[in-house]
Amino acid sequence: MSARLVEHAQLSRVLLLILLALVWTTRPATAQIDFDIVGFWDQPALGTVLGPGNAAIFGFEEDSTERADGPTLVDYLGIPLNVEGRARALAYDSALLGVPEHVCMRHPSQYSYWGPARLRIAAQLDANLDAVSYTVAGTFRRADRTIWMDGRPHPSPFAPHTWAGFTTGEWRGSTLVTTTTHLKWGWIRRNGVPSSDQATVVTYYTRNENVLTITWIVYDSLYLTEPYIKSADFITAPRGVSAASFDVEPADRTNNFFGLCFPREEIARPEPHYVPHYLPGANPFMGELAMKLRIPAETTLGGAETAYPEYREKLRQGAPSARGRATITAPAVVQPRPGEPAPDTALDVLKVQGNVWMIAGADGNIAVQAGDQGVIVVDTGDGTMNDAVIAAIRRISTKPIRYIINTSASAHHVGGNAALASLPGGSTTGGQRGALVSVIAQENVYSRMSRPDANGATLFPAVAWPSDGYYAPRRGLTFNGEAIDIVHMANASTDGDSLVYFRGSNVLVTGDLFTTTNLPMVDRAQGGSYAGLLSALNALLDIAVPDDLMEGGTYIVPGHGRICDEADLVEYRDMVYEVRDRLKTMITDGAMTAAQVKAAHPVLGWDARYSRPAWTADMFVDAVYPEFASRTPARPGATRGAAR
């Protein structure tokens, strides 16, 4: 090679290096990085002193005291609460967590990443190694979340709700975005700020190298005026973290961080089914945080404006009534209707558990127990969809219908009696066995259905009437190898209510004693009473036994609405209990007129959730007012059999 060629080659090499250098210095700063969220994730500062109390144990670097020991009572700062949400929050007495019905409550998905949590995230893979689902475990009391990635739809609106809810997800760029529905009632702050079972939570998981940031937005128009956003950070846990070491409260194995919790009484209760709560205007902690922070009491009650930067200007100027107790006015509630399932032309058939199914959509819910001996139907809907109901039953079993059990004489529940009782079939017991479908109900149901009007006509044809009424407090039946209890709940919604309990399947059918769609339905003209309804709800609670951590166990088919478990029943019972005390204070003790009671909004906190055009809060007040005004509320059992 000549010297010139060598020189040329060297020059070319230098030029190439210069070119590469230029490319390098102008190249975009970029990196291919790992967005995967699978792994162990810890609090950012575990074991570091972050403030007073247990903050060090939990190691959060935002709101460390709130997230460890719990927030200050009546601290709603930054939460876009509406008047209903605020009313419920102010009714909250933290002693509630000391009663057996609540003590094992899990942290729901509306809140759980803000509570104590050490996350373990795993992926379940299909044959192509694509993620079918992720599981996120490690929140307080283990409301483990499964994130379905396979495109499956969310369940029927009549399906049970859980603390974790039902979640689907998809990757959008570097973020896993999930949507959670089917949530239980819960809280968005651990001091009683409520979140409803109609809430939806959208969650964003972003892995920022060794930091996992989880952002979630709660949509709950029942209690919030705008979406509520939170974000929490976790760091990659040290290598070698095992499941066995994944416990921050090892000293108390009966009530630990992740699992095991046995319902127990942690406070002395003045009555067996006592529900701690505060009446409107009586929360003793109102104003406490305001004094501590030197801000107006109204500010601590939250509201969307308290989350915006410009609110600081109001704080600088001072608020209208600084320091001290604030009064809460209750403007007319204007809320969108909640998303409870509504009757549709298409019926929904859901397996409850064991041998029991629920048919929804024919107005009142219908429960079906099926087996080798045939079919028992509890309630028959309103009768407008009989063909569809029969077809739905046939999808469950082709065996004949042997028995119909009616939980009351309500047209919403007995309307299909005639059609179903006319089908070929026949009971397996009694004098007419094999000939006719036997209709079982408390005797007062027979009286209501068969009573002629002034023209001698009855509301229902004779074939629809109970053919097998019972007078005793309870009736027992064994069918398809399963013991079935039919128990009279005297003077509750009416004077003829029955609960039906399938012991083997562990399913309760409540009729209108309990719904997820309405304010308490008390029909005094039909022998109902508020006191009796509350007693009935407590009786239902005495039968229902939850599975671990207040979920599952006994399932409940309510008169209307979705399948429930004990925790849902507790929530409803608590409402009836708290509203009872409000009505007693207003009417029995305060001698308020019905108009005054209505203006005082005695069901504030549940109005938007349960009020319906067909059964409004005002109608409810009209129905129960006389009972409270009489100062001698009806005693359960007082009219048992009186209608015969």
């Binding site: 935002e62 959008r172 920022n208 930091v211 760091i235 922070l293």
Partner: protein
């Protein structure tokens, strides 16, 4: 180049929604209120010793608005491209200006300042890499049927997600809280900006901030702060630094 291949669009005006650490963000916390901060004992002592009234009186209030904490203040931020390689963040709280440099060079750093020197990079999802895209927007090598980028399948020739990472150094010392909690000049701030969209379309960015201060912090101090996109700029209200 970096503006052209931005995987997320952070420009516009954003407002922070204060649903976390409300008491120490919307108010000036009392002396000695260190909750949520992983401070060393020495840092606590220093915070207790300092006279913040004197700091305020001497015109040093902006030392509580440095890069480690400025995104945490309640307020609005305007984000815009200063040029194709520099993203600018302007805060109305404390009237601060940050410049995020994609082509960071040490020589540009200058003297330490409250906002320090911020080096930025895009972190792309789905295997996108601008080095594998030619000037016409086509994948280099795609004509030959070659696979480009990382990950499964053929990578996109346009970014389909990702985030912004910013590392800020060259900081002057300042305060993590208005009650005197210090951070040192040795502090490094690492931030990750992620863009989120609600189902109805409302956009947010969440900035995850990792403050590393070997002098005052026992472990890294990590927060995430949520900003919602504003419909317009009308509520952007510059205010001077204040310790009250």
């Amino acid at each position: 180049m970096h503006q052209r291949y931005a995987p997320i669009d952070l420009t516009r005006t954003w407002v922070t929604i204060v649903t976390e650490d409300w008491d120490v963000r919307m108010l000036t916390p009392k002396k000695g209120d260190f909750h949520s901060l992983p401070l060393t004992r020495a840092a606590q002592d220093a915070a207790n010793r300092i006279d913040m009234a004197q700091v305020d009186a001497s015109g040093r209030a902006c030392e509580a608005y440095g890069a480690p904490v400025v995104m945490r203040h309640p307020g609005r931020v305007r984000i815009a491209w200063q040029d194709g390689e520099t993203l600018r963040i302007e805060t109305d709280a404390g009237r601060q200006m940050r410049r995020l440099h994609f082509n960071a060079r040490a020589a540009d750093r200058g003297e330490p300042t409250l906002q320090g020197f911020s080096a930025a990079e895009w972190q792309y999802a789905n295997g996108f890499d601008p080095l594998h895209v030619d000037d016409t927007g086509r994948a280099r090598g795609a004509a030959r049927g070659g696979r480009v980028g990382a990950g499964r399948g053929v990578a996109s020739t346009q970014p389909t997600g990702g985030r912004l990472k910013v590392v800020t150094t060259n900081l002057a010392a300042g305060f993590l809280r208005k009650n005197g909690v210090p951070y040192s000049a040795d502090t490094t701030v690492t931030e990750y900006y992620n863009l989120l969209a609600e189902p109805a379309g409302t956009e947010w960015f969440v900035v995850t901030t990792v403050v590393h201060d070997p002098v005052n912090l026992a472990v890294d101090y990590i927060t995430s702060t949520n900003f919602r996109k504003e419909p317009d700029d009308s509520k952007f209200t510059p205010e001077p630094c204040t310790l009250r």
